[in-house]
């Protein structure tokens, strides 16, 4: 490749290779791709020690993931590495769809202002991974081991024993929890004899990455049946470094070896790009599958990303959904290891992400069937939808060139307190902020009048968002009552043994909010005061004075109410942590049946679990 050469990360021997008995770690992650790295970084920024094993010593080779969705950027922001990705990449929100020689319509995936991040940033996967590796290196709790290839996995009821091959020979290490994020081929999944099953598609696609200086707008362009590639589809994306991704549909009968030859590729590109100068940077031919593992949790092992589920590339739902897997997993694992959450939260995670995988597989399968119709009548319907879409907006919603990745709402998650179960949730008209949804973003002002993005204020801990009237309008009595409720809340949480909760008071108005309402207790309990100057957050939350939202450490909504009830907040927090309210976690754990490992897994007694669960 001309525009990029892969870095080489050094293998370093570690103390675990020379211990008599295998060293035991709370959490090991297998795979230093985007999903493994995001999981590990998320654990480490929450203070949790983690070991990452990777069989290679570099980042992704060649052209792979390109489109990183808004939610991915928000997750990276929370982890402290969003900005380098955005700076390096190409931001876009708009796209165009063409049929034959004409444009049918254009679209905007993020037409409203008031969001920190765009709908998408295009960036080559190797650049993303370099940013993640740099962030990982800055975290002392994160131990990233290159050229550590897992060759043996022995799962037991209380942990996993790994055999790891290195340039210095093999060693063993044990862990309480194993995250498997070693990609679509997942050697570890194969070692365990576990399957990922679904639908295989036979259509072949050609990826050609070309270096060129072009003045095309930074948009996603998708052609159906264009004159330069008749009967097939073509997708064009801009990447960083003047690199452009062209994806040609070839059909099921194409010969992958022939199609990769420059004498076959160059005429295709020449027909599309005309006389302009370009250099061929990368060529590959791919097919894809839409499939997933039946269960993402197997006892002490958690499967995430492509190892657990795969989709077609249309919609950018592979990498983005894998990073959402990590986002939803890390906070739970941290709290299970700390003894703050019941193990059942990992079943809740698996349930959420299995449902998400189904949603992504459904969407990407539908896109694929629209893009490559399987019968003459399917082709007729597709062309009818495209023809109508040129003039009729309703048909644009039927055209499917890829339903681009949006975060999955964990609608049926056991972590949610559904509106119907919570008292006083009357008339929330904000489906985007329903329980299970990741929080919306909004522009706010901090106490000192500085602009702040809402999503940058939350995450890593449970957050409580309280909308109040303006500080200046508060009568002293109101302020005192508010402070008293916060004190009561703190006391209820303390008594229930629930972990830290950050409180954000959001006030309307354009003036900077007062630091506190003047009551010492409030000052103490209130960790954040923000002004919703333009009312954007309140509108997106359908908030009135008194409205309360409880958010998980991954910024998803747990519950919402029209007024602050300390017992209700504690109950919803306990539910998200898999704990019956009012009982110590140890009691709760006693009542949970032991996790049962797959019968196919080799059972072996390992050392007793480390004393991490207080």
């Amino acid at each position: 490749m001309k525009s990029y050469s892969n870095p080489v990360f050094d293998y370093r021997p570690c103390a675990d290779q020379h211990t008599g008995t295998p060293a035991r770690h709370p959490i090991v992650v297998i795979g230093a791709g985007p999903v493994g790295l995001v999981t590990a970084i998320d654990l480490a920024v929450q203070g949790q020690a983690v070991v990452v094993l990777d069989d290679d010593q570099t980042v992704s080779v060649g052209s792979r993931a390109v489109c990183h969705a808004k939610r991915t950027l928000e997750i990276l922001d929370r982890l402290g590495c969003g900005q380098p990705v955005v700076d390096r990449g190409i931001s876009w929100s708009r796209g165009r769809v063409f049929l034959r020689e004409r444009e049918v319509y254009g679209f905007d995936l993020l037409a409203e202002p008031g969001h920190r991040r765009p709908a998408f940033v295009n960036l080559q996967q190797y650049h993303l991974e370099e940013a993640l590796v740099a962030r990982a290196a800055s975290l002392p709790a994160l131990d990233l081991r290159w050229r550590n290839r897992v060759t043996g996995v022995q799962a037991a009821d209380d942990g996993v024993l790994l055999t790891v091959e290195t340039p210095d020979g093999p060693y063993q290490l044990a862990c309480d929890w194993l995250v498997v994020a070693d990609g679509a081929r997942s050697p570890v999944r194969h070692l365990l004899g576990l399957q990922s099953e679904g639908r295989v598609f036979h259509d072949r696609f050609l990826i050609a990455d070309v270096l060129m200086k072009a003045d095309y707008p930074t948009e996603r362009w998708f052609w159906f049946d264009p004159p330069f590639h008749p009967g097939q589809s073509v997708l064009l994306h801009r990447q960083a470094d003047n690199l452009w991704r062209v994806d040609f549909q070839l059909g099921p009968d194409a010969d992958p070896e022939e199609e990769k030859k420059p004498e076959r590729v160059m005429p295709r590109l020449r027909a599309m790009l005309g006389d302009r100068d370009f250099d061929l940077e990368w060529v590959s031919v791919y097919t894809f599958q839409c499939r997933r593992m039946e269960a993402f949790r197997h006892g002490r092992m958690l499967f995430a990303g492509d190892a657990a589920h795969q989709v077609s590339p249309f919609g950018a739902r592979g990498g983005n959904s894998g990073i959402q897997d990590a986002d939803a997993l890390a906070w739970r694992l941290v709290r299970v290891v700390r003894g703050e959450a019941n193990e059942s939260v990992l079943d809740a995670w698996a349930q959420e992400r299995q449902a998400a995988a189904d949603e992504n597989i459904l969407n990407s399968t539908r896109s694929t069937d629209f893009i490559s119709p399987k019968s003459p009548i399917a082709l007729s319907f597709r062309n009818a939808a495209l023809e109508l879409a040129a003039t009729l907006p309703f048909a644009r919603r039927m055209v499917n060139s890829g339903r681009l990745s949006t975060p999955t709402v964990a609608d049926d998650s056991p972590a949610n307190t559904v509106d119907a179960d919570a008292a006083d949730t009357s008339g929330f008209a904000a489906p985007a902020m329903r329980p299970g949804a990741p929080s919306v973003d909004a522009p706010l002002l901090s106490v000192d009048g500085q602009p702040q993005w809402w999503l940058n204020r939350i995450g890593g801990e449970f957050d409580l968002l309280i909308f109040t009237g303006s500080a200046t309008a508060d009568a002293t009595a109101d302020a005192t009552a508010f402070a008293a409720r916060l004190s009561a809340l703190r006391q209820v949480l303390d008594e229930a043994g629930l972990p830290a909760l950050r409180i954000h008071r959001v006030m309307p108005g354009t003036s900077a909010p007062a630091a506190n309402p003047g009551e010492p207790d409030a000052d103490d309990a209130l960790s954040d005061a923000l002004s919703d100057a333009d009312g954007v957050l309140a509108a997106r939350c359908d908030a009135r004075p008194g409205t309360v939202y409880l958010l998980r450490p991954d910024q998803h909504v747990c519950a919402r109410w029209r007024s602050l009830d300390p017992q209700a907040v504690a109950g919803s927090m306990a539910r998200a942590l898999g704990r019956p309210l009012g009982r110590a976690i140890a009691d709760a754990r006693d009542s949970t049946p032991d996790s049962t490992l797959d019968a196919t897994l080799i059972r072996q007694a390992t050392a007793p679990p480390a004393a991490t669960q207080a």
């Binding site: 009818a384 109508l388 309703f394």
Partner: protein
């Protein structure tokens, strides 16, 4: 309005519609006729706008044709 497919007589002067439907296909190739039918179905589906009605119509139209249920 009922959320079920109406199979009772509902069309004024059905002969007029039937004639117009056949006339719309006059002079078209099979492929063009397929295009016309597809456009018509998408337009009418959007006009109906109720998933349950469309589901029932799909099921009724496919009955006896060996299509998957």
């Amino acid at each position: 309005m009922s959320d079920h497919l109406n199979t009772e007589p509902a069309l004024d002067r059905p002969d007029d519609f039937y004639e117009a439907l056949i006339a719309a296909h006059r002079g078209l190739s099979d492929e063009q006729s397929a295009q016309l039918n597809c456009r018509l179905i998408l337009l009418m589906a959007n006009h109906i706008g109720r998933p349950q009605v469309l589901t029932e119509a799909l099921a009724l139209a496919g009955r006896g044709l060996g299509a998957r249920p």
